[in-house]
């Protein structure tokens, strides 16, 4: 039974995400007139520039993320989660919107426009977007490092040496995964450099794609990005297959909070609040300012335009998240319980496929007469979500699984529970927080997915991010900003609703089991 489920899930995932992309690769290789153009000097220079920019971004964002994670986990107590939530707010916007908001900010400031329209400007915007992600990745591992390791070191060394010699080396897997995640996500990101008129490899793919309609060239270039990602993975594979990427703590917090002197702690708190201001408040303020500059009409229009898409979007995001969690669960079990390491690599590689190319692959593969029921229905959107984000849910759930001590399962074996009972009554309840977090993050990512879905959404359906994108053109800036704010409110309130639902569910199941 277990093998059957593993087999079926793998087969389905291959069918949804891997085979279409491979299919497109091979047909593009066949159609490509020559690889000379791909490996031309200009292309290689651009690739080098892209790698450099993504590396710098990944470095900066990991550095900021590390600093924020250390501050949050080691100097804050009760307000920690609120601050985290505020910090990741930029992650709910599309990079394009943030690019626009930041360039408008520098325009309002009346200076720094030369800076923002340069590679450094792109790096700046990317870092603002991805540093919160790094913070999340690193702080989740930091929270799992017990206090004794740092406290025992504190007896013989000052705090800063403990951080450098003990804490950071312990965080190495999280630091690496933050770097890799940000690198992969920025190297295929094109909306920010395109808007800021900075030429990089991803905009080159985009140009081949939308100006020249030269798909085989674009796909071939896309595969260069994928190979760069694979190379990176290969270099650090021993760490990365076990790296946490994102995880949610299953146990109650036991993190260390060494006592530090008051001025320093005030300074750290200042840095945390300052970062919230820089990374979240400024872009939101810019958007609010633009949206309400001319009164409420822009907001009314935005609500009017987006209202019909909301139910649809929320519904598909939820269904998609459900499937992402199911796939994530099975893959997590394959990698953690049965130690099938290839699962992680396959998921990471599919995650590195540029969204546009994945969209193209879905069209090439699924748009055939006998597959029309899939292609021309919303199933294709669910497929798009699964292909894009299974890696994320898989990792989240795998990390929760990793935290369950083996004896907990063995005790159930000794009691005579069959595998299914152990799964449903012991393991799943224990990883429930991780599964919930996976659902939530998948839901939010689905709600914002644009790159793939815009290529495959069935005619006549409307999804929120796509509508924002298509209405944005020629709509006044106020409407665009207002729409972005509406999306933010929708995401935040549905997240809130999910949390509420969870606490009600928890209460209900508690009553049922003990009543």
């Amino acid at each position: 039974m277990k093998r059957f489920i593993y087999f079926l899930t793998t087969l389905l995932f291959l069918f949804i995400a891997v085979v279409p992309t491979l299919f497109t690769l091979f047909s593009s290789v066949i159609q490509l007139r020559g690889w000379g153009g791909i490996f031309s000097m200009t292309n290689l220079t651009l690739l080098g520039k892209s790698i450099a920019m993504s590396s710098v971004t990944a470095f900066l964002s990991t550095l900021i993320g590390l600093l924020l994670a250390l501050i949050l986990e080691r100097t804050f107590s009760e307000r920690k989660n609120w601050i985290k939530l505020l910090l990741i707010a930029p992650f709910f916007f599309s990079p394009y919107i943030l690019g626009v908001a930041w360039s408008d900010f520098f325009h309002m400031l009346g200076t720094g426009e030369r800076f923002i329209y340069s590679p450094w400007g792109v790096i700046f915007v990317w870092t603002m977007i991805f540093a919160p992600l790094s913070m999340l990745v690193i702080s989740s591992q930091l929270a799992n490092i017990g206090p004794n390791m740092e406290e025992s070191a504190l007896l013989c060394a000052p705090y800063q040496s403990v951080i450098i010699k003990i804490t950071i080396p312990l965080l190495r897997p999280a630091i690496l995964s933050s770097f890799v995640l940000v690198f992969i996500m920025t190297i295929s990101e094109f909306s920010v450099p395109a808007f800021l008129s900075v030429r990089v490899f991803s905009t080159e793919i985009f140009t081949q794609f939308s100006a020249f309609h030269n798909f085989s060239e674009a796909v071939a270039q896309g595969w260069i990005i994928i190979s760069v990602a694979i190379t990176l993975l290969f270099l650090e594979r021993s760490y990365l297959t076990d790296a946490p990427f994102i995880s949610v703590k299953t146990d109650a917090s036991k993190g260390a909070r060494p006592i530090i002197s008051r001025p320093i702690s005030t300074l750290f708190h200042g840095i945390a609040y300052g970062s919230i201001f820089w990374m979240s408040v400024i872009p939101v303020l810019v958007l609010v300012f633009q949206a309400f500059k001319g009164g409420l009409s822009a907001m009314n229009q935005a609500i009017h335009v987006l209202a019909p898409t909301m139910i649809n979007s929320l519904f598909y995001a939820a269904i998609g998240a459900l499937f992402l969690v199911l796939f994530g669960l099975v893959f997590a079990f394959m990698s953690e319980e049965d130690h099938l390491r290839w699962v992680n690599l396959v998921l990471l590689v599919t995650f590195s496929i540029p969204s546009m190319i994945f969209g193209m692959s879905l069209i090439y593969f699924f748009n055939r007469p006998f597959l029309t029921p899939i292609y021309s229905s919303l199933v294709i959107i669910i497929f798009a979500y699964i292909g894009r984000f299974t890696f994320i849910t898989g990792r989240l759930i795998a990390n929760s699984l990793k935290q369950i001590p083996t004896p907990i399962k063995e005790a159930a074996i000794m009691a005579g529970a069959p595998p299914w009972t152990i799964l449903f009554r012991i393991i799943i309840p224990l990883i429930a927080p991780g599964v919930f977090a996976a659902f939530l993050i998948a839901f939010i990512l689905n709600l914002g997915e644009l790159g793939t879905t815009i290529m495959v959404y069935p005619p006549g359906t409307s999804l929120m991010p796509i509508k924002v994108y298509t209405i944005m053109a020629n709509a006044p800036q106020s409407t665009t900003s207002a729409m972005t704010l509406v999306v933010l409110v929708v995401i935040l309130s549905s997240t809130g609703a999910l949390f509420l639902m969870r606490s009600i569910l928890a209460k209900y199941s508690e009553e049922r089991c003990c009543g």
Binding site: S210, A211, I374, Y375, V379, T470
Partner: protein, 343 residues
Amino acid sequence: MNKKFILLPLVALLVILIHSFITSCTKTPKEVVVYTTIDQIFSEPILRDFERESGIKVKAVYDTEETKSTGVLNRLIAEAKNPQCDVFWSGDPIRAVVLKQRGLTQPYVSEEAKDIPKWYKDPEHHWTGFSARARVLIYNTSLPEASTLPKSIFDLSKPELKYNVAIANPLFGTTTFHMAALFYVLGEDRAIDFLNRLKENGILIASSNGDVKKKVAQGEIFCGLTDTDDAFTAKKQGAPVDYLFLDQNKGQIGTLIIPNVVTLIKGAPHPENGKRLIDYLLSRETEAKLAKSCAQMPLHKGVPTPEDVPSLDDIRPMKIDYDKTARLMVEIQGVLKRWVESE
């Protein structure tokens, strides 16, 4: 936490699958699929009107040239083997010609287009033009440079306007077509020479026409080339901008007119409904609506227009062969790419 929990998504999947099978297998004759690159705020109302008047359900895929049309045209090309789309409504003739060159379109002669001038139509009837925009120079009225306005596109390379002119990336959207028209009128050598002089004059390459409009409206730059609809909306929204048509005097090349274009896709699943939609789009009523909503100039004679919408009768158009220019565009893209990338 029990087995019901795992059943829920499976049931959901089943429901979606069944739903999608039903909707896709029972291909209702009462629908038409249209892909459009016209901004959704302008195209959607017209498609809704058609739906209401004809009783045919319109299923649309929107995209905008503003955001560089990643979706629609690529999607049409990718779907070639199993077309899903009936009608392609494009904001310019280029994309229709690209499709025609790839053999993805079929001819259709609409009665509605009888009195549209023939140079706005494909000689082989694969595409038909209607409501047109024109290329204009948008400028910021609050800047001191506004005292002496350029009259010709060639003035943009003059030292007075150094670092003062913006243009959208010519690899995308209507700007490509504008460049192709220049190449058509001037010949390759003179066109390249002009482009190089623009570059030497420090022209700013913006990400899109909308970006040009925004930069001029915010006073970041004095003037730029864009389309009438952008200039029109900027003015309507109260930005300190105005626009003018370039090269309007005798002996000058005139300004580029860019018609909307509609085409019937080869292998369209609902060809008859597609034709009805094409007829509707080519009608005088549609032209009147587009004139009102986004200042597009009707190609039919005598269609009523708002006062502030210019008439084609008053504009000196650039005399080009649209089909040939569109073909030329495909050829010069490499040149334009190198021009954009040059320092």
